[in-house]
Symmetry: C3
Amino acid sequence: MSLVLELANYVGITAFGISGSMKGIRKGMDLLGVLTLGFSTALGGGIIADVLLGIMPPTNLVYLPNALVALLASLFTFIFYKVFTNVNKPLIYADAIGLGAFASSGASLAYSVDPSPLLVIMIGTITAVGGGVIRDILSNEVPLILTREFYATSVIIGSGIYFVLRYEGMSNYYDIFISFVI
Amino acid sequence: MSLVLELANYVGITAFGISGSMKGIRKGMDLLGVLTLGFSTALGGGIIADVLLGIMPPTNLVYLPNALVALLASLFTFIFYKVFTNVNKPLIYADAIGLGAFASSGASLAYSVDPSPLLVIMIGTITAVGGGVIRDILSNEVPLILTREFYATSVIIGSGIYFVLRYEGMSNYYDIFISFVI
Amino acid sequence: MSLVLELANYVGITAFGISGSMKGIRKGMDLLGVLTLGFSTALGGGIIADVLLGIMPPTNLVYLPNALVALLASLFTFIFYKVFTNVNKPLIYADAIGLGAFASSGASLAYSVDPSPLLVIMIGTITAVGGGVIRDILSNEVPLILTREFYATSVIIGSGIYFVLRYEGMSNYYDIFISFVI
């Protein structure tokens, strides 16, 4: 994994960890509920993608740094909740970066297993939106991706572009950059 | 896969794609939400069954025709929604055919992996009802199979009959026919 | 599997089968809905754990005794519902034993696949609480583990202690005993 992709991965985990634990706090959950929801949101998409690709046990359940970052992000959100509600705008950027980062890493992983365009797009999308879907299902709500169009659209297009670029042999850094812009 | 089974497979995908996207439309989702829900309903049961049987990546995420049929069925439903609401009766038949087709193909796949009666019945049932369960969970409702008895009963019995017939060495066409009748 | 662990396994399946089917009855489901919910609650955690560890098809879908115990527990609950509502206290003990038993067996299984502390704790926890999460999602409610703290805490600590004990080479019986006490 390149340095850029690895950094993006941690940004994504942090962003989704915050988003999951904020939802837990708003639903009136206590510390453990908030941590569980933050953890599931941050790592759930990657776990589902790994299972679908046959990578078992999933990286997120074995590789400690990912779990630690998810846990710390959730813990910090629980402690500094009032700060975060005042910084809504940066959070949306973090969410967008998280989606882009996860779509890239998911698409990249799928490509290494089987370079089928359908698989690359599907796994890229599932990695990116899976955590949010888990968060909303556990919170007993209709998943946001089903009701807010721009959200998933950008991820699907991003994964698709990833495949085309990869297929035409362009560099990895370049398409990650593009995924981010989108 | 025999021609009859393959045809039944596409009928099943179409029927569940329509059922999923109609639910999305009724919930007021926009195009992408409707397509995602139709897609998940049509292909979700098969994906879960493949994962449980250790077939990774799942066929529905690699084999393009299945995905295309699911997408087209959902798109057509979105465009011609008003027509479909007036043809409720044929839809129920399509749903029944879909359940029968998916139960048959799931049971058949499970049998080829491990001819245990429990597995054949369970995978046949999961393949058939899995998509509908995903549809209802994503729509934030109690799954229909838990509240409408005849629905799952027929699928479980169908998968059971499939196993008995297969075990006794009868022809494939015959038991698919029986699954349909039930 | 040791005799103690196997016995605990059946106690766990019975306890969760009862808890799942009681929820189904309270939600006004009919026989098949109740059986399905009891079955999913009793066997779901183990199935998810098996998939995450790469054990496919999952034991609970192949090994008949587990499925039979789950089905019988659910059937008995459906028939003798009024009796069970008057014995709420023993049920809470059964639930605690079930959590301890499933956390132990999940942690033990994970350890045999990969002795990573994170994996052992995560799989132990998922095996124990997975069935209850499935039960609550299918019932269209926020999972209990997210709102009642002591519940998951004890399971996580139990799985953690299991790992430490195992790592230090202590006997299996001893740590199962400890998991139960916690």
